[in-house]
Symmetry: C2
Subunit: 503 residues, 2 copies
């Protein structure tokens, strides 16, 4: 294609895709489709998970790509409505109050609208100029959340990245580079004892994965010993670090949890900080889930000591109830903010205006081009105020305590933890399985869960304790009620009985 | 908080945030605000960049967080509209046809609506169950794009991640783990010559950064020699690999560009593949920008040989004109798809149903929880058909050729490359600067650019050639016309003259 007429024809074909009127019609159509869908989900009507096997969903998605494109402008909003309908009827409905599954929330729907502003206008913000207000909204949230954690205004730094895994990796990369000044340029040290990372014994998989990624090796992650509430045992940690120091083993960091994922165990962060300070070791806290407790006068004690950590992560897309992904990284010491990465890209960072680089997110994040990932949080906060976050934490934590009490009171359920937050693990153990071996008992939990979630009635998740499969709930929807929890237990009983009879 | 009445009060305060009717009103308000904004931007009215210094934007963003929350439900849509207005009036307007800047597009606005469906309903999809149709839409796009690249259906694999940097890092991590079978578990090898990565001499900064991240060290990136069109010189590459092999130096990968960022140089991928095959080295292609040429019968020859690469990345949020972030990773050999990461997370991956793990994106990506990042591409494709992508490539490439010809014909402009795609670098060299030294000439380009972009009249970006600052345009908006390009040159002349007179 080069003749001007074919260029003009191409432009004419492109035009509808950039027609503001067609966008408006489509925007209204999508808003209505989403509002109708939310009304149904939020009320608890309809399924939680719309279960279809992968092959079936992939066939539907592929067929749409191969269909005829819209033939006229009039069809655009209808086509968009049809495709959105397909997405909605085949999706997971976190907004159902019967969603009590992973640590991913029934997000505040309006937060998604603020995300959409960033998405429709595309504010890529690797450098400040390319998303000036998106950058500013992120910086405002960093300041506000960092102060909630107890860091001193002006002396800490932070930014947003695409998820807790990236956030943890970035912090541990910084810890590695701070410990080994030449590592970034020269690679992981090749002499002396191999460096280790000491982590909560049940830390998220991304912690060990970071060791694999950063060239340290996953086997060089030492699992910190846990107490009977599955929190780091500070005296055992002290012994471990003492031994490692005596052996001359470099310690990249101690990674504590606030909270660890399996049962939501919060480490005693002051005790961990004491040990880290004693040995001069970088303290990292994965507060992806629990950071939000900082908003609750009732629960913020769970985070006591977090302000002593060298690095902290906190996912707003967990307990601040915004859509994925919006994860915060914090460094207690501002000077660490450029330690993770160092690069030269003359077309990006303008050396003639170096002050601006302070606000160029690409200098600090794994991403170069970035979404305006903080707009959802910023808009939600600015609309409803921070009391919303307090309430969301308090309600979901309180409801989880109720669930625990119900499980405890029931002869046929066995809770596996006394919840510190909104996570509780348990097993359904009907009379006929009371003497079953671990393999049978575990397999029963897995089969029961699959049967339940594929029915669409509830969504809960699998876990394991001592290697034996179990069930796990995280109350991530503030519309879930006591009645739904009672219904969950009854549903598990009914399905469990049917399942054990089929065996 | 524990008494039931305070729980009830908290629930009552939360209710408006989950009210489907308020969401509907807000959705309409946001659609209208965006449509009005787009109408203005697309027409070329108003500024490109709304320049405000960081401190000013941060103050505005912070004030919004500290404001009074909405007092009544009636205020929700108004508040949302007001906040969205603030975002829009302080943002970067890629949709202006006078945006001719970074390799980030004036995205198809409707793509942002499909993103919004994922965002409002929150489909986190680390595991298939948590975003079944979002996963399927991604798999359908992977299949369709991979076949466009020329990979054999059924024998390749791919997935979406949050940006080209993550995508490149994931591929190079895979290459590292494939080369060093024990590296993931044991860390980077500590004996023998240090491994190297050979990369296009002007590869994106994330390539060298990956070496830093993966524990290889940035100084162990060998810059492949370039020819006068700034493409990898295949015979020099052959000599380099021959020398490295003779010295027993492990070679993690050769990273080629399709295209490299500074001037959009496409490597001769068949020639690079010949050399890599000869030496048995992993061939990686960063086709973040240029992958889209596969949609154009006119330009797809630029990618000849890409199907021989072991790994390829392709950013849909560049030349497929969807909003950030939606980056694709491809492995020629399906068996490499789980090589980057290996983890154990019993609450995520159900060992009782292992076939499902094939569709669990968290097994393959740096992210655990993930956005439904492919919905924007899927929806745009399914609405407008693939001809749209062909047209977008053809129009922007053709227009860049026009810009080059205009620069070439003008006595006071000096183009720095004959563009292969839609990237052209140049300098404005008025008569009074014809004998200026490099420092003066370079500083003038930087000052001129800053003056221009902060005026809001055009948005172009800085680059450098041979260490001397220059200007750079990427035509990323299909609504840009010849007239806008003429206007750009005249605007640079007017501002340039004023600037040189002020000196």
């Amino acid at each position: 294609m080069s003749p001007p007429d074919s260029l003009a024809a191409a432009r004419a074909r492109i035009a509808p895709a950039y027609d503001a009127g067609l966008f408006r019609d489509s925007g209204h159509a999508v808003s209505d489709a989403l509002a109708d869908h939310l009304a149904e989900s939020l009320s608890g009507e309809g399924p939680v998970l719309n279960w279809n096997a992968p092959a079936d969903n992939i066939a539907a998605a592929t067929a749409a790509l191969r269909g005829e494109p819209v033939g006229s402008n009039d069809e655009v909003a209808d086509r968009v409505r049809g495709l959105v309908g397909e997405i909605l009827k085949r999706g997971q409905n976190l907004h159902s109050p019967r969603y009590i599954g992973h640590q991913v929330p029934a997000s505040v729907p309006i937060a998604g609208l603020f995300d959409a502003v960033g998405s429709v206008t595309n504010q890529p913000m690797a450098i400040y100029e390319m998303g000036p207000f998106a950058s500013a909204a992120e910086e405002a949230c960093v300041a506000a959340l960092g102060e909630k954690l107890g860091f001193d205004a002006g002396s800490f730094a932070g930014f947003v990245t695409h998820g807790g895994s990236l956030a943890n990796t970035t912090c541990l990369l910084t810890a590695r580079n701070v410990l080994f000044k030449k590592c970034w340029e020269e690679g992981v040290p090749r002499s002396g004892p191999q460096p280790v990372l000491v982590a909560h014994g049940e830390s998220h998989y991304c912690i060990a994965r970071s060791a694999g990624l950063l060239g340290l090796g996953t086997r060089n992650v030492i699992k910190a010993e846990l107490n009977d509430r599955r929190q780091i045992d500070p005296s055992a940690l002290d012994e471990t670090l003492t031994r490692l120091r005596a052996e001359g083993v470099p310690i990249v960091a101690v990674a504590a949890g606030a909270c660890a994922t399996p049962i939501g165990a919060f480490d005693d962060l002051n005790a961990v900080a004491d040990v880290c300070e004693k040995h001069g070791v970088w303290m990292h806290v994965d507060a992806a889930h629990g950071g939000a407790a900082a908003f609750s006068p009732t629960h913020k004690h769970l985070l006591d000591g977090v302000e002593r950590a060298d690095s902290v992560i906190w996912d707003a897309h967990k307990m601040l109830f915004v859509p994925a992904l919006c994860a915060f990284v914090f460094y207690k010491n501002r000077e660490h903010r450029f330690e993770a990465f160092r690069q030269d890209a003359p077309y990006l960072f303008d050396p003639s205006d170096p002050g601006l680089a302070e606000h160029d997110s690409g200098m600090k994040t794994l991403e170069c081009t970035k979404r305006a990932a903080a707009l959802g949080l910023w808009g939600t906060w600015a609309t409803f105020g921070e009391q919303l976050f307090t309430d969301l934490v308090d309600v979901t934590f309180a409801l989880t305590r109720s669930l625990y009490e119900k499980l405890n009171a029931a002869a046929d359920f066995e809770p596996l933890n006394d919840p510190q937050c909104n996570i509780v693990a348990f097993r359904y153990v009907p009379a006929c399985l009371r003497d079953a071996n671990d393999a049978t008992l575990g397999r029963f939990q897995q089969d029961l869960r699959r049967d339940l979630v594929r029915s669409g009635r509830f969504y809960i998740v699998p876990t394991a304790k001592d290697g034996v499969p179990a069930l796990r709930c995280t109350v991530m929807n503030p519309l879930t009620t006591e009645a739904h929890l009672d219904e969950l237990l009854n549903e598990l009983r009914t399905r469990g009985r049917a399942l054990s009879e089929r065996r």
